[in-house]
């Protein structure tokens, strides 16, 4: 199956001189984590070329929402780098102050079909803050590239 891609719905990429920022918004915190992950892989590759053939279950622990966000994204980056996976679809099952449980769907990197737009070194804590305004959640994450 092809992943449904709607670029710039829920996130936008913010330019910095040497790095990249991801501005994400959603109507709940689960959506915020899912959108942030999509944005991360939008930086890495052309998401329209990635299909959801396999899944990885992910459990992350941390001591704040911000820490969980960075750890969640860095875990995806780790799987991308070590197992050479590209993800295009994410769903968070549960999230509380100390744990995130979710699933990432994607496939193995295939040189013939996939391109790597940007190699991401890490997701940083720089000026990271998760904000909640009524039903709208938002955050900005800076990525080291």
């Amino acid at each position: 199956m092809k992943c449904a891609i709607m670029p710039f719905v829920g996130y936008e990429l913010v330019e910095h001189t040497a790095d990249l920022g991801i501005r994400v918004w959603a109507d709940d915190i689960k959506g915020l984590f899912e959108e942030a992950a999509r944005a991360l892989f939008d930086i890495i590759t052309d998401l329209t070329k990635v299909e959801a053939h396999l899944k990885r279950e992910i459990v992350i622990r941390g001591s704040s929402r911000e820490e969980l966000m960075v750890a969640w994204l860095n875990e995806l980056l780790y799987l991308h780098e070590v197992e050479l996976l590209l993800f295009c679809d994410f769903s968070i099952a549960e999230i509380d102050e100390g744990t995130v449980t979710g699933v990432a769907n994607g496939e193995e990197f295939d040189e013939a079909r996939h391109s790597v737009k940007t190699e991401v070194k890490a997701v940083t804590y720089h000026q990271l803050e998760i904000k909640e305004h009524g039903e709208r959640w938002q955050t900005q994450v800076i990525v080291d590239i």
């Binding site: 001189t17 990249l20 941390g62 001591s63 391109s115 070194k121 000026q127």
Partner: protein, 484 residues
């Protein structure tokens, strides 16, 4: 966090700007730049970041910024800060994700004319022999866990032990290619996993191998000692500790966020998180950082070996004709324990250099014997279309900046802007018309790295020279480049 507008700047002289201590700052900020550069620097938040670093406990001397300063996460890129070994802190954000990203320079027995017609062959072969791009690595380099631990403990010395290069290379590497007290047991399984297939790979972004030539010599004496002469072919390797270093940094930041809270350290920005140098967390970070730094030294050493092999294959010449000798290898993202004289007394300090290069003066004990009369070589790469510089360290740098100077050009265009500006252009053709043959794992990287995306490195180096924190020896121009 205060806004950039609130940063109060006082011009000291043509190349120095003071950010006077105020509020929670424990010391002044000192920025090296000329008037024109300062106008650009003011546009991002990097001056605020120089101020933020001045908040950290145990800082000795000013919070410093080199002329290639630009906005980083936490510490600015181009930042230098020293902390007292007893009362100060160590911060992974003051080193950066790419631990021991660095540059090495080789000279050769060849002249520009000897390879002019062969440069395409050399560059194409370099691209085959040196893995770059996602998931690529040499099949003939595979490490088990025990060997990986040795890499982390012994750095470039491990690589030479395995036949990658020669023992005489080691004398010409900062710290002899091995930072002591590295403890692989403090490196997470995740970091080891990320590093496993990445030893001997270039990585992407601004990492490269460049074949060039000496375009100009400014100091004949020093150039002679370095074995450099006009039109001589040189090779630069720029890469770091790859995913292993990124993971060590990320793991350590998580620990330091807790540690900063535990030790009651107030942080103007989370990314500045840190721990006292004497604490368990501080010591463990330094021991893990040393592992990543050693991985980077080994990485550059292995790539150097493959560069030598490539020249032998393509030019059908032996090592004694090619004379591909290592001039020097410098780190530009590192924290190190060093002894410096402060206000007339010797003090043990942890010097953080994030996007800055060590630049020790003549006769310093850490300068290789061969270079003792000229000072430590400093290698400043520019963009792929203009030039790079070889400098030497100075007394002035030792006195003012804990023996530190700039590290490169620094971006002025975001990657997106660069792509936009390159739209519809044949970037590689343009460079080829200038006599520079560029190949990369992906076209995307090349386009993002167009020369005009960077500050002119000559401006940066001229400030360094004007301020006296580095001395120009030679200018190098590119002929062929491989990009990650």
């Amino acid at each position: 966090m205060t806004d950039q507008q609130t940063v109060h700047l006082k011009k000291i002289d043509e190349y120095r700007w003071l950010i006077p201590r105020e509020g929670g700052m424990r010391t002044d900020g000192l920025v090296y730049a000329d008037e024109r550069m300062m106008d650009v620097i003011k546009k991002d938040q990097s001056l605020q970041q120089v101020k933020n670093v001045a908040f950290l406990p145990g800082i000795v001397g000013p919070s410093l910024a080199m002329p290639d300063i630009h906005w980083g996460y936490g510490f600015p890129i181009g930042g230098v800060a020293a902390f007292d070994a007893e009362e100060g802190i160590v911060s992974p954000g003051g080193v950066g994700y790419d631990i021991n990203c660095g540059v090495r320079l080789m000279r050769s027995g060849l002249e520009r004319n000897d390879i002019q017609g062969r440069i395409k062959g050399i560059v194409d072969a370099l691209l085959v022999n040196i893995p770059s791009g996602v998931g690529s690595h040499r099949k003939d380099l595979k490490l088990d866990k025990q060997q990986q631990h040795k890499v982390l403990q012994k750095g470039a010395q491990w690589a030479v032990d395995q036949g990658y290069g020669q023992w005489k290379d080691i004398e010409h590497i900062e710290e002899q290619g091995r930072i002591p007290d590295a403890d692989p047991d403090l490196v997470s399984t995740k970091a080891l996993e990320r590093g496993k297939a990445q030893l001997g790979t270039l990585g992407s972004g601004n990492h490269f191998v460049e074949v060039g030539y000496v375009a100009e010599v400014y100091d004949e004496g020093a150039a002679g000692v370095l074995g450099l002469a006009k039109d001589q072919v040189t090779i630069i390797v720029h890469t770091g500790s790859r995913g292993l270093g990124h993971q060590v940094c990320d793991d350590s930041i998580r620990v330091m966020l807790q540690a900063a809270q535990h030790y009651g350290i107030e942080l103007p920005d989370k990314q500045l998180c840190c721990a006292p140098l004497g604490s368990k967390e501080g010591k463990e970070y330094l021991a893990a950082m040393a592992c990543a730094a050693n991985f980077a030294f080994a990485n550059r050493q292995i790539i150097t070996h493959w560069v030598r092999e490539t020249f032998e294959q393509v030019l059908h010449m032996g090592p004694s004709t090619l004379k591909l000798d290592l001039i020097y290898d410098v780190c530009h993202n590192i924290a190190k324990l060093e002894t410096h004289e402060v206000d007339g007394r010797e003090r043990r300090l942890c010097v953080h250099r994030k996007g800055a290069t060590r630049a020790f003066p003549p006769h310093h004990p850490d300068v290789p014997v061969t270079y003792k009369d000229i000072g430590q070589p400093v290698l400043i790469p520019g963009d792929m279309g203009r030039c790079s510089y070889v400098l030497v360290g100075t007394e002035c740098a030792y006195e003012e900046t804990f023996g530190s100077t700039c590290h490169g050009a620094g971006r002025i265009m975001s990657r997106h802007q660069a792509k936009k500006s390159a739209r519809g252009r044949m970037v590689t053709k343009e460079l080829e018309a200038k006599g520079i043959y560029v190949r990369g794992a992906s076209m995307g990287t090349i386009v993002e790295e167009i020369p005009e995306a960077y500050k002119d490195v000559s401006d940066v180096v001229n400030v360094v020279q004007g301020a006296g924190i580095g001395k120009k020896v030679a200018q190098l121009k590119p002929m062929g480049v491989i990009k990650g």
